[in-house]
Symmetry: C2
Subunit: 334 residues, 2 copies
DNA sequence: CTGAAAGCGCTTACAG
DNA sequence: CTGAAAGCGCTTACAG
């Protein structure tokens, strides 16, 4: 940077290269400019180390170059060793990498931070918002949608507002998993559910119910996707119904918790009890025995979320809902 | 929002409440205003749903209310199931929660994204930057420091620039871990190292070397903190030196990988080989056997990083380096 | 292709 | 306590 305290501005560059500020601006924004002017401006920019002031730019363009991924979760789950969020972010990043948009992650655990984020978005601090892992009829989606800022969500949004969404076939995946248990001869299949205020939790339970259908009474224990909830649920199942010969857990983490309890209980997996998870986190290949699970393309969700949002920001039409497919990965636990 | 397409501005509120824009501004910024004016303004704000335009604000205040946490990592590690980053973020969030600053996470995996982030920061898009998990003499720290934007880093920064840092006593923690192995009778102790271009990797190796000292020849296998590198390193150790009776892995993930290989090899832990990790990730309590490890206060690092940066932004003096202590947690693997 | 000028929506001395 | 006015640093019609 040249001497002096102040950062150089358009004015600095214009003076130094002998053109008007408008011409400098055109060079920066890749608009038609005479080659000689362009060269002079580019040299001046390099010499003084000019970087455009983003606030000034945003003020007139109404664009910030920032896209927010908002996770309305208490830190408990975002920061559990669930791999959902990291993989989602990875997918989003891939899609954004070629764009001129910078991904910005915002955590909305507390009420205060939710307010702050809502105001941030409405204040035009970001060009658009991706919502992930909504619970129930989260007011955030409605508030943002109403404000007119582009919003997309993973999983369909409960409530009155229309927000374009990207999800996976939770119900079909769960059904396939349980059908696999049935077809391998299991007759007393329990499920450990995810939270029933989330689409993923609700749909995976529905898939289980679809599959067991008339063949047996449903055996259901509630969980919340975390490992500890899986442990607690498995203990309850063992107490209440020792005849269980298979468990479908709605997340791999819960399956891992269940596995832990089964081992302590002296039950062999899969000999005594078969076990299927959902997610296919990395660690599913490292449990003993390795976990059969329903693989979902989390990075694909991220990519689609980002591309849908970019379209929305560009004013292009988007599909109201995209559903990606899941795949049963059979390993050793069934 | 009132009818019309445009979002309301200060002007809108001023007109509606019968005061000047300056007075509205003062109300918004909690400056002295006559109670009656304040009431009128607040009512008008509520009625029209006014939210200040952040870009306009930043342009004059030179503050954005955004603080960046920059992770100069390929997604490989940030998104491994290492728990370092999530816990760091958690700590940072705690500290920032009461401030009027919004945390924004930026991933600098690719060269392109590093450039974008550097320009973002310099363009004044954020008030300050926290750097985490630097490798080698990362040019990003120098570039940011030179630009004059407030920067802090976790672990001390290699290279010519002075960046205030917050780290843990990696060396002391590693030394304690290995001394624990020695004092429990182990005589042939190997280490699986972290990357040697990172402070944490280098210092933990030094701690190991401190402890084994003259009592035995060092037995060193290189890793990079990931589980797969731990597996590979353990295989090499087993091949080259079957007499090993203990391993200090510089991360829990590598310890987990090592454990996997030891089990496949038929080695009992801790009977045949004792194993210590570093980090104390949640999962260290779920391995079979549960893992003895060096616990480090990752959320504490996050909190201190944030508070140091806030001081820097406020123009207050900060300590050049803060070092937090670690603690050996003895479980079943030793 | 280029420049002068207006304007984006705020904050902040400066007077009063 | 309050208002008129300048200014933050850009972009963008509008003329030429």
């Amino acid at each position: 940077m040249a001497r002096g305290d102040r950062r150089p501005t358009l004015e600095t560059v214009a003076a130094r290269s002998g053109v008007s500020r408008a011409t400098v601006s055109r060079v920066i924004n890749d608009q038609p400019v005479a080659p000689s002017s362009r060269r002079a401006v580019e040299r001046a920019i390099a010499e003084v180390g000019y970087v455009p002031n983003q606030a000034a730019r945003s003020l007139v363009t109404h664009r910030t170059g920032l896209i927010a991924l908002v996770l309305p979760e208490s830190s408990t789950r975002v920061f559990s060793d669930d791999q959902f969020f990291p993989r989602l972010i990875q997918g989003v990043s891939q899609e954004l990498d070629d764009e001129d948009e910078q991904l910005v992650l915002m955590l909305a655990g507390s009420e205060a931070s939710r307010d702050r984020i809502e105001r941030s978005a409405v204040a035009g601090r970001v060009d658009g918002v991706m919502l992930a892992s909504l619970h129930g009829t989260d007011p955030l989606s409605a508030a943002l949608a109403k404000s007119g800022i582009p919003v997309v969500s993973n999983e369909r949004v409960l409530g009155p507002v229309e927000v374009p969404s990207v999800g996976v076939d939770n119900r079909g995946g769960a059904r396939t998993a349980v059908e696999h248990l049935i077809s391998s001869g299991r007759r007393r299949i329990a499920t450990i559910t995810g939270p029933q205020d989330m689409i993923a939790g609700m749909d995976r339970l529905d898939g289980y119910l679809d599959a067991v259908g008339g063949s047996q009474e449903p055996v259901v224990a509630a969980g919340d996707f975390t490992r500890v909830s899986g442990e607690a649920a498995m203990k309850r199942l063992l107490d209440e119904d020792p005849g269980i010969d298979a468990v479908f857990a709605a997340s791999d983490l819960m399956a891992e918790g269940a596995l832990h309890v089964l081992r302590q209980n002296g039950s062999r997996v899969p000999d005594d009890v078969a076990l299927v998870g959902f997610d296919d986190i990395t660690r599913a290949r490292y449990t003993e025995p390795r976990l059969t699970t329903v693989s979902q393309p989390i990075d694909g969700i991220g990519r689609h979320l980002a591309s849908q949002l970019l379209r929305l920001i560009a004013g292009e039409p988007v599909e109201p809902a995209i559903t990606l497919t899941t795949e049963l990965v059979v390993r050793e636990s069934t």
